[in-house]
Symmetry: C2
Subunit: 240 residues, 2 copies
């Protein structure tokens, strides 16, 4: 779900609060302009824009007081010690450039349409729903390529593994806690109870996704859900 | 200059002090074994072993109390938050493997011989000497591929630029302070005065260096030194 960062920026400016935006998921998927946001800091990461892993960038508005976490060298104006990862920096720049093109050339709109049809088809499975919707209305502002869906009477991690075996990679928790088996803290913060959060999966489409990929997902997901529910039904009442 | 880390490790063990070794320059050039060193922590970096930039590794002896600098995710046993740079990790592992081979197959010995002959030839230029030598004796323990040489009556940075124009990359300061114009804090800590430190350059040989490279360096260095000394002689007495 997209946050109203422009409004938050105005409140921050009025109250003199420093405002940082984590734009890692949004960069390349939503057009944005740091000047309009009124933020002091904004972070992006290359690997969320089809760029290399291990490299990110931070916008720092001139005059923002900031202290380094990594010290010991004079690199990057003394704000981050360590030999600069030049190939990574070039990769990030190229990825950002290509991401800007994708926003302009209709790739992102195509992705949103594809995500919507994927979502619609998955929701035809009984006992499913979209997390982040308001009163059942799915059209809340969000990035184009992801959907987060709960599957009643199912252990999310079991479905992650079942789909992985069929060549479909989905995510159970937050990307920040890969390998963790705890329910997503983000979903919990959004008001979901622990049981619902545990049954939830995130589907993300790459920019290269095509109709055949969607068809494959729609073939394997309903089968896997039915199979797992039949095998190990969890206690009733998880719709709560 | 190689430090007597094994002895330091023994002293650390006797006195209960935690011992970290910065092995970034030594890894792949000197055989080592963390168990023999008695260190608690040891760091290496891929790009100093012909691997990718932006990735390193730290040995942590079991039971060593350590706190993360980067928090917010559960990655790497909660010690370093952030999506793992998998291509970087694989690159580091491969670089380390190849570096182990280089130690075993004579590459490093060949490099040391080549460095020695480069050094010998440069020292034929009047008013030069090796930093890190003890009482003029050059054969102190050190890594195979580098030498640090002072050039009397010369501004080191001027020679860096002159050699760069001839296709030879050398370093004036410490690698930790690229872009800084201050004399190397490492040379100063070794007891050199500021003037001597300013005239000093580090020559590093890649594993791929060959005789033709050395010939080229030996052709351009004496010419550049003579040219710069004639152009802008600094105050006499810098031998001090």
């Amino acid at each position: 779900m997209l946050q109203p960062v422009e409004e938050i920026g105005k409140i921050a400016a009025e109250t003199g609060i420093f405002f940082h935006i984590d734009a890692v998921q949004g960069a390349g998927k939503v057009p944005f302009d740091v000047r309009r946001f009124g933020c002091h800091l904004l972070s992006i990461s290359a690997h969320k824009m089809h760029g290399p892993k291990g490299i990110g960038a931070m916008f720092i508005r001139r005059g923002t007081p900031i202290e380094p976490l990594l010290v010991g060298g004079s690199h990057e104006r003394r704000l981050r010690a360590g030999t600069e990862n030049v190939p990574g920096i070039v990769g990030l720049a190229k990825a950002a450039e290509l991401a800007m093109h994708s926003l302009a050339d209709g790739t992102i709109d195509r992705l949103a349409t594809m995500r919507d049809s994927l979502e619609e088809a998955i929701l035809r499975i009984p006992g499913t729903g979209v997390n982040g919707s308001i009163d059942g209305e799915r059209k809340v502002p969000r990035v184009a390529n992801t959907t987060n869906i709960w599957f009643d009477q199912l252990e999310g991690e079991a479905l992650v593994i079942a789909l992985d075996l069929k060549g479909v990679s989905v995510s159970g928790g937050s990307a920040c806690h890969s390998g963790a088996t705890e329910p997503s803290h983000v979903l919990m913060a959004m008001g979901l109870d622990k049981t619902r959060a545990r049954t939830s999966l995130r589907f993300s489409l790459l920019k290269t996704a095509n109709g055949a990929d969607i068809d494959h997902v729609l073939q394997v997901v309903p089968q896997a859900v039915e199979h797992l529910r039949a095998l190990a039904p969890v206690a009733a009442g998880t719709l709560g």
